[in-house]
Subunit: 387 residues, 4 copies
């Protein structure tokens, strides 16, 4: 079936890429060993430092986010190292699995997939770890599978209070550029991120922001590495260079995306995401449906995961909405398959596109025979119109 008009890409990433970013990535490729590239790369490295909130090092990989997860671990740890993970959802679980594949020993604090990593639990576990067996603590800032954020500053405080020396690693793949984040202020050691969410780019670039403490660990890390190795990356980066071929055209887009974010102002960007999340929750609640996230302090500004009422399949709903209204929504992942759908409200998004999105969800729910109450969309508009 042919659809008129633009596709609504309302998954929690890749997010909608602005026209000017799309045009930017279509400029002719240049010599990445020439002066024009050096200027470009130095510019985006500096710009990403601002976005991460760090005066320390940033590494830009020509690879998608899973690679940056791997990079964080292999650059700092050693075979057999114990690592503390928190089961916040599908992505924290994937990261844990990646650590296992590399011969690390993850300890996972179990979770209910409806709340974030618990700072009190961090305090408790670290207090018990008097031998400092844990070399790293890994937390997903915004768990894309559940729409729950973890409270990084509070976790930092818990680590500090325990006096534990473990490295603190945070995955901000789906939060960076959408949710307030401060690598240096929160003393994060490795922040992992990617291009295709708050940064409004196509997928293909990923990042590590790296503290001095992480660099010190890097010196003694013996896990094998080459593509992900920080050493040459950081040495080359100082001169606006890369140790191997970068993906130049996406870097054009990154430059333009950074320009746009700065033009809007990061505080405005964060407030917009909060407002969109609030409007979305207002709709969900008015429909009489339940938001997956149960902790009022941990609602994601990036996406909202919605629980399907018993007897209804979220994937059938998504199929109806894709076929009839040409809109993609996020599926429930692993444990949540079929029981949850996810509405992305991040990146380059307007009030009216969000309104159209929620209209599509509402119509889809009706067409799927899901019993909902009147007034969901109107409740969202009540939030949106007050700005």
């Amino acid at each position: 079936m042919t659809h008129s008009g633009r596709h609504f890409l309302q998954i929690p990433g890749p997010s909608n890429v602005p026209d000017s970013v799309l045009r930017a990535i279509s400029y002719p490729t240049i010599d990445h060993r020439g002066p024009e590239f050096q200027e470009l790369f130095s510019h985006v490295l500096a710009g990403m430092g601002d976005i991460f909130g760090t005066a320390n090092q940033v590494v830009i990989y020509p690879a998608t986010g899973t690679g940056a997860w791997e990079a964080a671990l292999v650059n700092t740890l050693n075979a057999g190292d114990e690592v503390l993970f928190f089961e916040t959802g599908h992505f924290s679980t994937l990261w844990t699995g990646l650590a296992e594949k590399w011969g690390l020993k993850p300890t996972v604090i179990p979770g209910d997939w409806r709340t974030g990593a618990d700072p009190d639990k961090v305090r408790e576990v670290l207090a018990a770890d008097t031998d400092h067996r844990f070399k790293a603590i890994c937390v997903v800032h915004n768990e894309t599978s559940t729409g729950v954020t973890s409270r990084i500053p509070e976790i930092r405080r818990a680590i500090d209070e325990s006096g534990h020396p473990a490295l603190f690693m945070v995955d901000t793949i789906s939060s960076l550029g959408s949710v307030d984040y401060r690598h240096d202020e929160w003393k994060v050691d490795v922040t992992v991120s990617g291009s295709q969410k708050g940064l409004m780019l196509p997928p293909g670039i990923s990042f590590n922001a790296v503290s001095q403490k992480a660099l010190d660990a890097h010196k003694h890390s013996t896990l094998p590495k080459s593509f992900w190795d920080w050493t040459e990356m950081l040495a080359s980066g100082k001169n606006g260079q890369t140790p191997y071929t970068p993906n130049t055209n996406l870097l054009y887009g990154l430059k333009e995306a950074l320009r746009m974010l700065n033009e809007e102002g990061m505080d405005n960007v964060f407030a917009r995401h909060q407002r969109f999340a609030k409007a979305t929750r207002a709709a969900v609640e008015a429909w009489g449906l339940e938001v997956l996230c149960t902790n009022e302090d941990e609602h994601s500004p990036v996406l909202t995961a919605v629980i399907m009422p018993e007897g209804h399949d979220a994937d059938e709903l998504r199929k109806i909405i894709l076929d009839k209204f040409n809109m993609s929504l996020g599926a429930g992942l692993s444990n949540l398959k079929g029981t949850v759908f996810r509405i992305g409200h991040l990146g380059d998004l307007s009030d009216l596109t969000l309104a159209g999105t929620l209209a599509g969800v509402q119509m889809g729910l009706q067409l799927a025979g899901v019993p909902i109450k009147q007034g969901g969309l109107e409740a969202a508009l009540d939030v949106l119109k007050d700005k």
Copy 2:
């Protein structure tokens, strides 16, 4: 103020241009005297014949629609000729004014800007014109200023019944590609059109579709002409050529737009426009507001003009909506300035973008303090979801 996300261009033209058309017009310009251009131009000439519903001649001008109005008149008429116009709104009035500037003598059947050209009136006027003073009858198919269509087949029947020999000229600038239209079947002599509405292109191309009878009149027409002259246009066009420089890049876009329209199927395209118009009227009526068009048979599938309640200024509403929600709506023109706003629902448009559009109108009305009833947007969704 910086806006996130895409602008909502919901004026009744220029309409939203599809991505693939925008990409098409950005291809490198070619030699318009070479074989590649010939193939392109022959292709779009043939394609436009299908869109007009004509096996006769089509002329493509590298100029916007006002030029095609002028072309229709100067190619067929002589100084002092009497021409019958119908005052359907702002654009019929502009066309009449253009005729006057050229020394033609328009007779205007007055109208209330809420209904189309009246076939009965045609019958009456032509019956009275026993000397056949009227050389041409000019009707605007879709009056963009009011959201009212005129019933061309019924007017044709009225002309036929009167046995009057006047040329029949129809402006389809804002209807072609959105509303069913049949140049040959309805025995129209000159159909005027443009690129930036149903054809989903940027403005810059305009058209005349020309009957044999119009060509016969052309032979005896003495109004001065060169740029608009059909003679060389048609002679060159036979060989895929143009007598002077064409605007090649927009023709790339026309080729792609024709491909898209054919892929969707014109019947589907027309039905979609009808459905969007119906949904929009459902919202307007549920809000307790009045649609300008008063004749149930003449509602435009392209746009809906809405009357502002007494004491409220439509332009203030439009300004609020532009500033807050980054959406352009059409203004009330001349007589209707401030008292009417127009919602475009044509071209490359999806259900969800229309829903977002109507959400923006609803929020704007509320913010502007216009008293509206609950349920407007919901009424529209009831229409949209039944497809």
Copy 3:
């Protein structure tokens, strides 16, 4: 046959459009009645004033150059007016024909298609015209069919010396942005131009630059006009508006092209065109072929027309070059058909692309069996490398 790599568009216009201009015209169309358009249009009007060298009025038409020719005449003259034309080639002849179609009475000073309009002849003819029958003098600045420029300042001086009141109209369609031009300083009354040559845009925009004297004549001009009418154009333009639909997307490109020209600096742009013309003539002469232009002071910086030796057909050569080397060259027009080919060296062009162009011509001449001497391309490189 499939060709690898970019087409070489080395006709004397349309010229190669820079990537950034192509990307610019592919941005989404906006409401031409909104504030963003006003800003754009005011910007390009002011920028075009600089390019024309005028503090007076500029009119921008959403139509190709032939329309701007027509506009110059119909806005200032009256039926039966006598107009002095100079036969410099194909395009001066077309403009003359256009004047005739409009009921003007051209007097044509014959030419040999190898020299420009002769200032002495102007002096002579105007001296004889004691009744001031000539209402306008029309000259093509750069005759695209021959590669000959006319010396506008000297012609102006001749007019001044004769004390003749005729309007002075100059076609700069293929010179503006490539050859030094000064509308005010040279007291030109109407300068006609277009987008697809020195301005590095696709075709589709054309211009009139208008003196106060031309505006005075406009007030009394009775030729019928509407689309081309300056009155509303100038009134609207003051507010960044257009009286009817503009071709917005090409205006995006115009803004970008103006930015690029200003970045390079107009003096550098003019010098570059001179250098490329010199290099091209060096090649032609070293091949032992003859440049059409016979007056050393009148060589075009925009293109070089080359005479084919007896017994060889220029169009066959062009076909070989197009088929084998994927390069378009300009054909000989009307009188010159088959006996001349034209090499464009204008617009967005580099030394190396010109070198490739001349390499293609040289290989084509050899393949076509045209006897040429060794060393043509080398002679061009000798010019190009000294910069």
Copy 4:
């Protein structure tokens, strides 16, 4: 300094990206978990199989070529494995270094950086390796630093004759799509490749083509891996899926590039590269300069490395050419720094752009004061014009 016209990107990759590929990568990003992506990914997987000449498995990484080197090793080998490398130049040395970083034990057959891997040496070394210590033999098909190709079929034959079971791995990063290559026919076990050379894309995608024997080795390989792990890649790929986020927009470009290559026909593509290489060597030799490659059977169709005469610095030459003529050439790498420059003649390239390239080199050599003989460019044109 501002340059008019397009940059000449004549490095040996990234190569010039065709306009239609650049436009393709600028289409809006889609949901990589939806049906449209599945269709796209299945399509490019199949297409890449054809390009590699394999009916076996292809893995597509969202990462640049260095990653695909790493992938080939970590998917098949075990810590401490001995691997046979051939020192053909800078890139073979980098790959060797990467193997060392991973704890493999490379044995390097030394080379003079002017010839390819020697099949006789392969025969000799493998005959001596009666214990089958070597688990893999790694050869760079086209050594981008020297412009020398290695004769893969002959090396295959040498391996076969020795009856040695080592895996055969070939880097085709700069040859695939430019030089004839047959993964299955030549019984290569892992072919490594990338997007930014013969495939005419920006950098950002890399590939492994994998034989059944390599898959068998993979099952027992214990080097740690996650991002590069074939297992999930191949499992997901069967359904047009990826185990983690792909870089979707570059895949749009890959689809278009494959379409273009197939349209031209791979045999024509290979012949074109041969012709361009021959023309380039003709120029170099006529200038009296020396091509780095000394083996007539091993000249690269992709690039030509040229030795600077004593007392002249290749990097100064490159700087002159970049500054004056806006052309990038490849530098001499490591051992060859300053003494060699490299001319890329691969990818989307025309005869005339190559002519312009060689004109730029010739002028640059003259400006740099390098003594060259007359007639270099002419010698190249003699090759180019015979097609």
